[in-house]
Every structure is written in C-alpha cells, then in structure tokens.
C-alpha cells in the first residue's frame, strides 16, 4: 500500500533562494506533521495539521518558514530566503488522529535539503 511520500528526495539550493517541500500523506490520515532533523541530531517538531488547519505552529524556527495543507491531503513546507543553517532532512509524517490516543505516526523518507 502507499505510504507517506515526499518530494524532492534531495534538494540543493543557493543561499537566499526559496524552496518548497512536498508531502503526500497516507490517504485518510487527518493529521500531518513536519519535522526537521539535522545531521546526527534528533527530530525537531516544526508544525502539525489537523485537517487543513494548523493548531500548533510554535515549532517553526522563524517567519521564513511556512506550511499549508489543502484538501486534507498534500502539504507544502516553504522556506524563504534559505540560510545554510536550514540544511537538514525534513521529515513528514501522518496519522489517523493526534492528541490523546497518540496515534501511530507514519513517516516519509524525508527531503534532504542542502543550502550552499
């Protein structure tokens, strides 16, 4: 069956450029999450969506980061004016629900972003 997919798998961009990262969750999953993982580090929560709304944006590191979700499906994470410290793997996950029952999250393979 189809899992969570992310595109592109790798992205190399120049400092100052904007990038868009895409996530296609598992069909029927209402919750979608974005994480950042720097080399050798743990997962850093960025934002999550319940349906198309984002109740918690507190993890976004700066106003250069934004995300949207449409049709309770695909989500896009946009990073404007990229900086070298943005270089990381960006992971997307989806689940049936969120708080309380702690529904299992299914992760995509990630997008490796390199800012030169």
């Amino acid at each position: 069956g189809a899992g969570v997919s992310q595109s592109p798998s790798n992205k190399v961009t120049e400092k100052g450029k904007d990038v868009e990262l895409r996530c296609d969750p598992i069909s029927g999953h209402t919750a979608l999450y974005w994480y950042r993982q720097r080399l050798g580090q743990g997962l850093e929560f960025l934002i999550y969506f319940q349906g198309n709304s984002a109740p918690d944006k507190s993890g976004l590191p700066s106003d250069r980061f934004s995300a949207e979700r449409t049709g309770e499906s695909v989500s896009t994470l946009t990073i404007q004016r990229t900086q070298q410290e943005d270089s990381a793997v960006y992971l997307c996950a989806s689940s049936f629900g969120t708080y309380g029952r702690s529904y299992e999250q299914y992760f995509g393979p990630g997008t490796r972003l390199t800012v030169t």
């Binding site: 929560f45 999550y48 109740p55 918690d56 299992e104 999250q105 992760f107 995509g108």
Partner: protein, 109 residues
C-alpha cells in the same frame, strides 16, 4: 510539558537483551507512550506503544510502572540489524508531539 529523557547511546552485543529506559515525569493522564526506531537515511518507524504495565509484540516489549513516569523498551536477543536510534515519545501540552534526542544503540558482533 511532557519532556522525555533517555540515554544518548548504548552498546550491546549480538544475542543480548537490551533495555532502554525513558523518563517522562510530566506525562498526562491520557497520554500513551510510543517508541520509534530510526535507521540512517530513513524516517522513524513505529515499534511499540503502551499506556500502562506491559505490552509485547513480535519486535519488543514495553514496561511501564504504575506511576507512568518512565518506560523501558526491551529488545530481546539483539542482532546487528537492530543498530539504530530509538526514540521515546509522549504528547505534551499544545499537541506538540515531541521526540526526544533518542538513544543510539550500537550492536557489536
């Protein structure tokens, strides 16, 4: 906030049982505890989840004491392929589903 604390790294040998303990002192009443495994260049994947006492599946066991302020992931008879990072996760206030720093398990021959 329900923060988690777990050892940064552990070493073991093939065939041994490995126990990784995670502390989560501020866990909320309704929170479940979930453990994930992550191999290099892959996203984390679910291993096991529990609320209290003991849960066992084909991969691992999870032990949760009565106060639920900690949990222990038990991997029986590890092999080289169990070398990975293991994350303990609990929800916290504001629905921010935090992953801790993880425990890097190295299984040696």
């Amino acid at each position: 906030l329900a923060k988690t604390t777990q050892p940064i790294s552990m070493d073991s040998y093939e065939g041994q049982e490995v126990n990784i303990t995670c502390s989560h002192n501020n866990i909320a009443t309704n929170d479940y505890i979930t453990w994930y495994q992550q191999f290099p260049s892959q996203g984390p994947r679910f291993i096991i989840q529990g609320y209290k006492t003991k849960v066992t599946n084909e991969v691992a066991s999870l032990f949760i004491p009565a106060d639920r302020k900690s949990s222990t992931l038990s991997l029986p008879r590890v092999s080289l392929s169990d070398t990975a990072v293991y994350y303990c996760r609990v929800p916290n206030a504001g629905n921010m589903l935090t992953f801790g720093g993880g425990t890097r398990l190295m299984v040696k021959p």
